[in-house]
Amino acid sequence: MEELIKKAQEGDKEAFTDLILQFKDDLYKIAKSRLKEDEDVYDAIQETIMIAFQSISKLKQIKSFKAWLIKILINESNNIYRKKKKIISLNELEQEEGIKDTKIEYAETKLDFNFFCNNLKYEDRIIVLLYYMEQFTDAEIGKILNIKENTVKTKRTRAKQEIKNKMKGT
């Protein structure tokens, strides 16, 4: 990967594209956690690619490439989300806690991507995805989301408790 980044920093588009392809699944999931429509997800990723390619020569720490890329993607996803938000449109409301009307035992609930999208609000969801799926530290997540590390810890604690309670179906 380091080799590809260096080539990309010298303007090699093919190298940069290969680099992005290595992260395509992660980029898709991160954008999808914010944007419902795949077309918007593609837009967010394409915008991210263009911006990242133009700025990659400025990237000082190669090892933080992924975090840097995801940060741009989160910003672009938020931009698209905000631009599409309509005042009266009910389907553009923020993700909220759902109403559970069935009881499910702890061990049976699948904590897959859809579970988090359906049961956590975006602020908590993105932290869970970045922590468990992308395995960033709280400090790294704080930098990506421009929030304090302590805030990340608090939200992660809350999210985990929420997950636990959702699974119990109370």
Binding site: Y42, K86, I88
Partner: protein, 395 residues
């Protein structure tokens, strides 16, 4: 790491299908292939959809001295499921022809200095109840405008992103000057737009190479975002990323309702949600807002309102309401609930909608004409084992 952590680690990556199209979309970006501009910016202010079929005619009137003001809120039409974006015969009434649209597009391209652009595609699109002409050129320029002759405009240049632009810099002060200069160059008198917001594309000014400036009108010192010119450009070369003109019909209605009356109306309305928390505070300020059905939907069926905010809620089950398009002076009354930190952060049953709500109370008639979810940010941290709210100053 406890059992829950292990379970999350094991399962979080499951059950998500990555579309095969994704790889194609990634590969085409830097290959200078054409990217279809899917952006759906709305230059005109028809945020609320049109043509409510009145179910109940409200015959109420408001007296203000010797002048009688008729109530403006009508019972909205209810629709189950998402409204189709197919263009009907009814939609086409009053739209300009394709030839007229092409002439208008050519004129816009000339006005903005894109003399070498050739129109590649033209199509009518439906955006809520608005009908727009959407044009794309051979060099990834897109232009959208109201198909019924309004002055709204949306011009986007994707081509600029393929150029070597990341070294161009400016300052906030200079960005505003450049934006003004460009607006005048394109024939827009900025004098009437006296509220300015400036931002940039990267984390800091020093790193940024695309700047965004919004000019809004400000009648009676109220920011009118429905009458706005937004410009995004690359400094030093002064090339556009986008240019958006939004023109709404702000009614500039008089104020006959006091702040206290507005608050009382909002509080009465909010009681219908049966949210049982104690109210922390109620604030009101004058503003300009477009009529919408958000508050109506919230109070008529709060459970449904919360349910359909979920990402996977089936579109066929959405309950949507339509109302007239009116941009009015309103009291924006924000009700915020007093909720213990532990309940917000640790309770399963807590619903973020319960944090509070902002109602639009018409400044003339005193009716509830819309609303929005307010920006209520609550941050907390653990101190000495207890969850405490971080005071506003530290946020």
């Amino acid at each position: 790491m406890d059992n829950l952590d292990k379970k999350i680690y094991q399962e979080i990556n499951t059950n998500i299908e990555i579309p095969t199209m994704l790889e194609t979309k990634i590969k085409e970006v830097l290959n200078n292939n054409n990217i279809e501009n899917k952006k759906s910016y709305k230059p005109w202010t028809k945020i609320a959809t049109t043509a409510c079929a009145t179910v109940i005619m409200t015959a109420g009137i408001v007296y203000a001295g010797a002048t009688v003001y008729e109530k403006i809120w009508k019972e909205p039409t209810k629709i189950i499921g998402i409204v189709s974006d197919n263009i009907t015969e009814e939609d086409l009434k009053g739209t300009i022809s394709e030839i007229e649209a092409k002439d208008k597009a050519d004129e816009i391209l000339r006005k903005f200095g894109y003399t070498n652009e050739k129109i590649k595609t033209m199509r009518l699109e439906k955006d809520g109840d608005d009908i727009v002409w959407h044009i794309e050129t051979n060099n990834k320029l897109s232009v959208s405008f109201d198909a019924k002759g309004g002055e709204g405009l949306c011009l986007f240049s994707d081509d600029i992103l393929f150029k070597d632009i990341h070294n161009y810099r400016t300052t906030r002060e200079e960005a505003e000057k450049t934006a003004r200069k460009l607006c005048e160059k394109y024939g827009y008198n900025i004098d009437a737009y006296n509220y300015v917001e400036t931002y940039f594309n990267m984390d800091t000014e020093e790193e940024s190479y695309i700047w965004y400036v919004n000019f809004s009108k400000k009648p009676d010192n109220l920011v009118d975002r429905y009458n706005q010119i937004s410009i995004a450009f690359v400094p030093e070369i002064d090339e556009l990323r986008y240019f958006i003109v939004t023109e709404g019909k702000y009614e500039n209605n008089p104020i006959y309702i006091t702040e206290e009356q507005a608050k009382e109306t909002a509080l009465t309305e909010e009681q219908k949600t049966n949210i049982n928390y104690k109210i922390k505070e109620t604030n009101a300020e004058l503003g300009i807002a477009a009529m919408n059905t958000d508050a109506y939907a919230r109070t008529i069926d709060y459970q449904q309102y919360c349910k359909q905010s979920k990402m996977d809620y089936l579109e066929k089950n959405y309950v949507v309401y339509h109302t007239d398009e009116r941009i009015r002076k309103v009291w924006k009354v924000t009700i915020e609930y007093d909720i213990p930190m532990e309940e917000i952060f640790l309770e399963d049953s807590f619903n973020m909608n319960d944090l509070g709500y902002t109602y639009y109370i018409d400044a003339t008639t005193g009716e509830v004409i819309g609303g929005e979810s307010p920006e209520i940010n609550i941050k907390a941290e653990y101190k000495n084992g207890n969850l405490v709210e971080i005071p506003t100053e530290e946020k």
